[in-house]
Structures are given as structure tokens and as C-alpha cells.
Symmetry: C2
């Protein structure tokens, strides 16, 4: 019961749709491609497409669940007694590096050019912040109020979003995380801010 044929076929269909969509979007532009075009290119019915993706925008952010999981695992899966904020900083740095890579540039250029995609990404980020807040609040080694955990989660997501748009993304992550570290120290009873990397410097 691990990998039935049904699940494999379903995943293949999903991927076929996502690939067709991305190809067309990059070729002709997001707005110039209709849902019916994508469905035809992937050789599926429109209703099938919408049974795999909740909206046209979701076709572009195919792997947002990976993103969400990486964030929460940076919290739940970190080494024992490892402080929270540096772990999050490392993860955000990796994510920013990943999505500012040259290979991802055309996709992000497309996203930045489309208000609909930007808006969708914003609401995705809010979902991610909420997941992150839940993970932080659930950590038995930390004792923070619900409000503080939600605030820190939002700040971390803000860091990602702002760094991605900054002239020097890596430096921006460093700069904003200095601020987050300070904000965190206010809420956290234990005063060990060990790991507060002052650095702005790159790799």
C-alpha cells in the first residue's frame, strides 16, 4: 500500500499539468495564457486541472508545501538546546539563496510582473507564518505567549520577503535577523543570545 499505481498516475498528471503551465507561462507570459490553453497543452480537461490545483495562481507555486515544511522543520527538527532564532536564520538564508539563484530568475520576474501572483504569494506567506507560529508555540523548550510566537513568525516571513527583493539579499537577511534576535530576547526569559551573529558578510 505504499505506492499504488493510482497515486503514481495522479502525481504524474499533476506534474504534467504543472510543467505544461510553467512552460506556457514563461513562453507567452502569465496573463496571455488561459486556463483552457494550459489544459489543452497538458491534454487534460479543465475540470481535471482544477481538481489538482485550486486556482490558476497555484500552478505557479507548485512547491509551496515544501517551503512550509522546511520552515516548521527548522523549528521542530533542530538540535536539542539549539537556540531558535539562529536556526531560523540559517533556514531563511538557504531559502533566499535558493530563490534568488539565476535559474529561478525568470519565474520570479514573472511573479513580480503580475499583481495576481504577487497577491497570491502574500496570502501564501501568511499561511506559512501561521504554520511557523504553531510550531514555535508547540516547542516544549520555549515558553512564549501565543501573541509573541505569531509575531516572531511574521517577522521571520517578512525577513524572507524583504530579503528576496533587496539589492543584496544575503546582507538583508543578516540585517533583519539582528532585529529579530533583539525582539526575541525581549520575549524570551533565558538571556542566552548566544549565536547572535553580528555579521552582514556573505559566504
Amino acid at each position: 500500500m505504499p505506492t499504488g499505481r493510482r497515486e503514481r498516475k495522479k502525481a504524474a498528471t499533476r506534474q504534467k499539468i504543472a510543467d505544461a503551465a510553467l512552460r506556457l507561462f514563461l513562453e507567452r507570459g502569465y496573463d496571455a495564457v488561459g486556463i483552457r490553453d494550459v489544459a489543452a497543452e497538458a491534454d487534460v480537461a479543465v475540470t481535471t486541472l482544477f481538481s489538482h490545483f485550486a486556482s490558476k495562481e497555484a500552478l505557479v507555486f507548485e512547491q509551496d508545501e515544501d517551503f512550509e515544511q522546511r520552515l516548521t522543520r527548522a523549528v521542530t527538527g533542530r538540535a536539542a538546546h539549539e537556540p531558535l532564532v539562529p536556526a531560523l536564520r540559517r533556514e531563511i538564508q538557504a531559502l533566499v539563496r535558493h530563490c534568488t539563484a539565476d535559474s529561478a530568475a525568470p519565474i520570479w520576474r514573472m511573479i513580480d510582473a503580475s499583481p495576481a501572483l504577487r497577491e497570491y504569494e502574500e496570502s501564501m506567506r501568511l499561511r506559512h507564518a501561521e504554520s511557523l507560529a504553531t510550531a514555535i508555540a508547540a516547542d516544549p523548550g520555549l515558553s512564549v505567549t501565543p501573541t509573541a510566537s505569531r509575531a516572531i513568525a511574521r517577522f521571520v516571513i517578512d525577513a524572507y520577503s524583504l530579503a528576496r527583493e533587496a539589492a543584496d539579499p544575503q546582507a538583508a537577511v543578516g540585517e533583519i535577523f539582528q532585529m529579530i534576535e533583539a525582539a526575541w530576547d525581549v520575549t524570551c526569559p533565558s538571556g542566552d543570545s548566544a549565536g547572535t551573529a553580528t555579521g552582514t558578510a556573505g559566504p
Copy 2:
């Protein structure tokens, strides 16, 4: 040339549409009311409605420009030498009090119930954060990097958003602004954190 008849009529039409929309939305629910219903109730053509409001969601957030102006004026219009963060805290407190008042409850219940409205509000908040960041960056009395000003602006908007949803909104504003104050002190060369409300565990 201040109040010509034309401008008055235009404003009246706009208000007539907004009133009709809010009435129908609260009566029957946002999703159950179509644009054509609103236009009919306001006795205007659909195209006229869309020449006053950019989208269906914008009908609900009629006064979002006030919100934006209050934020930027809290920065640009504060007393000389008054520290930034406490001024912002006061403004956010007032805004939160305003939109958690009993009279506003039905509207916010409607917004919270509609994904489309929530998403629209999120993108509105991002616009507001951007305006706020511009105002902060333009303040000659402050010397902050663009990234830091954008980060602080987002944090402030986050405070508003989180406080509105918190069990005790006023307390949440206080709690988050302690964090913001600490984050601000990191970026700001002058160490005068005068106005840091309640107990801060300083570094």
C-alpha cells in the same frame, strides 16, 4: 473651485454605491450578493460601479486611504524629537481600538468569513507597510537603511493585524511593540529608548 457640483455629485454616487453594497453584504452575506445586485440597488450601471471602485472587495474597504494617511502622518507629523516607535504605537493602538469596537464587529465578522476579503486586506496591508516604510526612510531625523525601514514598517503592520485577532487586542499591541522597540534599538544609533513602556530586560 473647491466644491463644484460635479465633484459633489460624483462623491454622492460613490457613497450611494458603497452604502448599498454594505447594506446588501450585511443582509445577505458577501458571497451571496453579486455586483449586478449592488449596481441595481444603487441604481447605477455596472460600469459606473467599477469606475468608482476597482473591485468587488474594494467596496468593503472604502476608507483604506484614511488608514494609510493616519499611519504616514504618525511619522511625518509627530512632534520634533519625538521618538518614532512610541508614536507609531499610539497610532496603532488607536486604530486597533477603532476596528475592534462593537459597531465594527459585523463588518469584520464578514471579512473574516470571506477568503477573498481576507486576501484583499492582506495586500492592502502590504501597500500600507510600503507607504510607512517610505515615510520612515524619508525622515531626516532618522538614519536607517532602506531594509531596516521596510522591516520596521512590516513589523508595525503585523502588530496591527495580530492585535486585531488577539483575545486582548490592547495587550497584544503592548506586547508586540516591546519587541519592535528592541528591534528598532538595534538599527538606531542613538540609544535613547525613552518611551519603552513596561519592563524591558535590557541586553
